[in-house]
Symmetry: none
Subunit: 153 residues, 2 copies
DNA sequence: TTGACGCCCATATAATCCCATGGCATACCA
DNA sequence: TGGTATGCCATGGGATTATATGGGCGTCAA
């Protein structure tokens, strides 16, 4: 199973088009997919994407109750209602809908960030800020772990 | 299971290419891999590498929730965002991306350092400095251990 | 009619492949 | 044992291909 790896910055043209990085396209082509499925990320100001197969797998995991509970309904709504299937054009580009551009603060450039099973599309400068924060937090986490280990000795 | 052992210094050409040492390639070929996966090391000014299988194994350990927590999201980000899959060319070389060259201070030469399950790529002179420091610290550690043992007698 | 959208082609640049070379170590032969 | 042949490996450069990106044209719907 190939995964989405690496960060690639591409341009967004006047039509809202952006090239999906070739390595990411290769991951999808391995599943015979000719497009990506995108939805607003719940964890940050960016767009998340994956293959349609993953979305369909999500459907399977949801309980198929005739009368869904409030929780399931909310989850289904968040993911499925706002998800869009974006097909590649001849050059491997997708068109980002206006609401996605707005949600992620995208203007002239988009950064594709690999996340393993999924990827995200960020405004490059927002990405830099967010990454710095994540790094800080990870380092702090690491420090406290080392301290705990030392005390345990 | 073969592991990455030894140190090899190879040239970096104008295109950013560097030959992966044949013994290292053999380790990867044993796993039917035709490339290496590299990422900036957290512990020092160098690039770390391993087989793609090792990264994919990490994907498996991550929880596969439709809605990831912020924590899991950050972990996936730190692992995958800065990693790159670098395939071998016909001569067993890889091309090092510009940001890797910068991170590790690489210019005309790179030192491949075996670390068992992984390996690292260093600027040769930076490696020498770092190794001297590591040696100093190891010796100091040894001294204090010996002293502690003597007091215990 | 005016956008929005899908589809096509054009192009510069960057990445990838391919082959040639020289050095080193090993294997082979006289 | 000395000398030579062979093969692998690291490296250089050129040719070919892929990629990212810009723009044009027809179709459909508001």
């Amino acid at each position: 199973m190939k995964s989405f790896i690496g960060t690639f910055i591409n341009k967004i043209d006047a039509k809202g088009r952006i090239s999906v990085p070739a390595p990411f396209r290769a991951v999808l082509q391995a599943k015979s997919l000719s497009g990506v499925t995108c939805y607003p990320a719940l964890t940050g100001p960016c767009i998340e994407g994956c293959g349609l197969d993953r979305i369909e797998a999500m459907v399977e995991t949801l309980p198929d109750e005739p009368i869904p509970g409030v929780e399931e309904d909310a989850i289904a709504h968040l993911i499925f209602a706002s998800a869009r299937d974006l097909p590649f054009d001849g050059g491997g580009r997708i068109v980002l809908p206006a609401d996605f551009l707005k949600k992620a603060g995208l203007t002239d450039q988009g950064a594709f960030v690999g996340k393993g099973r999924t990827f995200q599309i960020w405004n490059p400068s927002a990405l830099e800020t967010a990454q710095a924060e994540m790094f800080e937090r990870a380092m702090a986490e690491r420090e406290s772990l080392l301290r705990a280990r030392k005390e345990a000795d």
